[in-house]
């Protein structure tokens, strides 16, 4: 698979390494070259310096038609924009955006974007550990809303392809297995 990862932070570099050692073709993009120090010496993929919200940069890096596109920078909005560019302009297949604001994450999941929310992941992990009921979503959220996956509404919702393109589709199911906890108190 062709895998594009925007943001080579702690998460981005670990995910890049995992895909790389599993034999996939990986492109990592970050605004800072020092971020690439996190990649292991034996990393065989491409490390490209540039702004992952710039269509030209993404195209030049070879992100067009990526099988997996992960927007994992520290900026929620940069991730949102990068992911939407990947769907709209680059026709990437499975796209995930890290969005740490739970409300924004839920809103974009409703718009048809697969999102992962660190806030939800961590608070759920902590609450679960101290045996309290978890709140919020469970982590990677596939497009959840009534709009996700349909054909007729995409113009209005503004997310065109991805959701319905190809057999894989934009996160029809979460990439990681969801935890068994029910979604209590989902609406923040």
């Amino acid at each position: 698979m062709n895998v594009v990862i925007v943001g080579c932070g702690r998460v981005g570099s670990v995910v890049a390494e995992a895909f790389d050692s599993a034999g996939h073709k990986v492109i990592v993009i970050d605004r800072s070259t020092t971020a690439f120090d996190r990649l292991p010496g034996e990393f065989k993929g491409d490390a490209v310096r540039g702004d992952g919200t710039d269509e030209d940069v993404l195209r030049k890096a070879g992100a067009e038609g990526a099988d997996v596109f992960l927007a994992l920078t520290e900026g929620d909005n940069r991730n949102v924009m990068s992911a939407q560019l990947a769907i709209e302009a680059l026709h990437a297949n499975r796209v995930v955006a890290k969005i740490n604001d739970p409300l924004r994450a839920a809103a974009y999941a409703e718009l048809g974007l697969a999102t992962i929310c660190r806030t939800d992941l961590m608070s759920n992990a902590i609450l679960g550990y101290v045996v309290l009921p978890t709140t919020g979503s469970r982590g990677v959220v596939a497009p959840t809303g009534v709009h996700a996956g349909g054909e007729h509404h995409h113009e209005r919702d503004g997310l065109r392809s991805g959701v319905r393109s190809g057999p894989v589709g934009l996160g029809r199911e979460p990439i990681s297995a969801p935890s068994p906890e029910p979604d209590s108190g989902r609406e923040a």
Binding site: T53, G75, D76, N77, M81, L103, R104, E110, L111, G158
Partner: protein, 224 residues
Amino acid sequence: MFVLVVGGGKVGYYLTKELIQSGHEVVLMEKDRARADQIADEIGSIVIPHDGCEGKYLGEAGANRADIVAAVTGDDEDNLVICQMAKHHFDVPRTIARVNNPKNEDLFKHLGVDELISPTRMILGSIEQDIPVHELLHLAGLGESELELIEAHLDAGSPAIGRSTGDLQMPEGCALFAVIRDGVAMPLRSDMTLREDDKVIAIGPEDCETLLKEQLIGASATES
């Protein structure tokens, strides 16, 4: 109208002031506390010192009853998210985004932002106005009158090439008075045959432009 302005930079600040002056209800969101306080000191307690990208604060600012949300921060990605959240989460009827990278315009439009303001594009457009390829060039306005000094560059496709200036049908009230050929200015004579790359200088009222263009530049160029 109730307008929610997000971003208290120069644009957001003056926009807010102007809107208040014209009698609109305005709330300004600015995430930098010091900047927000500074603006609030001057124009009153309509400033919310929070990040307008966060759904929670957008809601507290009253996004769900806003007629217009104007996202005018300096970052395109923030403006996009503000407009999308406003549109899809709060059902705001009209969203306006400032776009810095002109290449983002298509994406923003496609993703449902109603109106785009691109300073880069505007300045670019203004500069390009001065170096037209197939257009009449406005050299100057003449005093109080409606008359303008206009230059037309005769490209290969111009219908005026090979004709003498006396044969050209000039619009009413419009006069050709000089030709610049190879960098030399010559007074216009009616028996002068026009050549490619000549520059013809004319004086006329603004509304004669269409006819002038037809005569000197050609019909195809009048489309643009």
